[in-house]
Symmetry: C2
Subunit: 200 residues, 2 copies
Amino acid sequence: MNRIAASERRERLVDAAIAVMVRDGVSAATTRAIVAEADMPLGSFHYCFRSKEELLGEVIAVITGHTLERALSEVAGGGALEERLCRAMRAYWQHVVDEPGEHRLTYELTQYAARQPGLAVVAERQYETYLAANTRLIEALTGDDGERLEWSVPVPVLARYVTAALDGVTLLYLNEGNATAAGEALELVARHVAELAGRA
Amino acid sequence: MNRIAASERRERLVDAAIAVMVRDGVSAATTRAIVAEADMPLGSFHYCFRSKEELLGEVIAVITGHTLERALSEVAGGGALEERLCRAMRAYWQHVVDEPGEHRLTYELTQYAARQPGLAVVAERQYETYLAANTRLIEALTGDDGERLEWSVPVPVLARYVTAALDGVTLLYLNEGNATAAGEALELVARHVAELAGRA
DNA sequence: GTCTATAGGAAGATAGAC
DNA sequence: GTCTATCTTCCTATAGAC
């Protein structure tokens, strides 16, 4: 492994860490397992990262980014509110079904970070980011086209409802393993949200 | 510690384990920390439990029982559907706000068990139990009094929606720390469920 | 920068005296 | 049954040759 830029090495280690965590869980992601996955010697770890905690902070940032990119890229586009809402929900759900391991990991990481004194701040910011994303999603649903819509509940409340419902349905699927059953519950959520949008 | 019945010791160790886990997280609940909390010598652990995994199985059973007892004891009683639903939700929510640590622990334990090969079965059964409890709750709402009600969606779908929504709102509160905001989202759920009950 | 070798500690589990 | 002392293993982190 001759003279790789340290930044490149950092990236590879973060990717390797995510791979190990998705496959075997956060607790299995020891420095040894991570460097083995990245095919590097153990010693390389500590001249790329000051500590394991520093790596974990970066892992959380990357994973959070993944989820948000997908969610927000699908809000745009034409059509009526119901269609766009349905499309956004379906895109999110497709990602959950395609990559359940990555979603399971986000929950594990949030919990892990919340317990780790040095990472508690990261965990809080992570959830704020999700709430902000869902707020933008809701505002994008009403703001972008000619229809003048008003939600029958305040946007902050709706954003929390959507965040909670998505989390809950995802967790249901991850734990029960039945995509059809969880998908039906998600449709109930989507219909509810559509009903909360009253034409002004 | 003279001649305590082994069964008594087992109970004390389970309680101590829960105390440590609520305070410091599942990963902090080492055999050493648990026996220290129970004020017992380390050696006593392994003549009460064959392994740490065996203890964890019992911890999960006890914690699951706690949550279900509270939830189901509040379904009964008189009043219209909306009132009883509201009462049940409020009782659940009160427990979450009073004992956030215990609820946080249920999520941590589910995840931990799902990763542990010997406990994966326990994790699946745990979620089945929650679903069954919410199904009973929904049936109790319609079945017990003179009103003849019919849900506008199938009961299994509704049960999953309720399970997911409660989980999601609880998680929102645990991560955001704002009981008022999460409570408002929960009310949205309660109103939605009430609307799904059409008089037959 | 890169690697091998190892320090230093904490984990689960057990041996064996009482 | 009860407890102390210890085994074995695995962890994060570092020292130091190249």
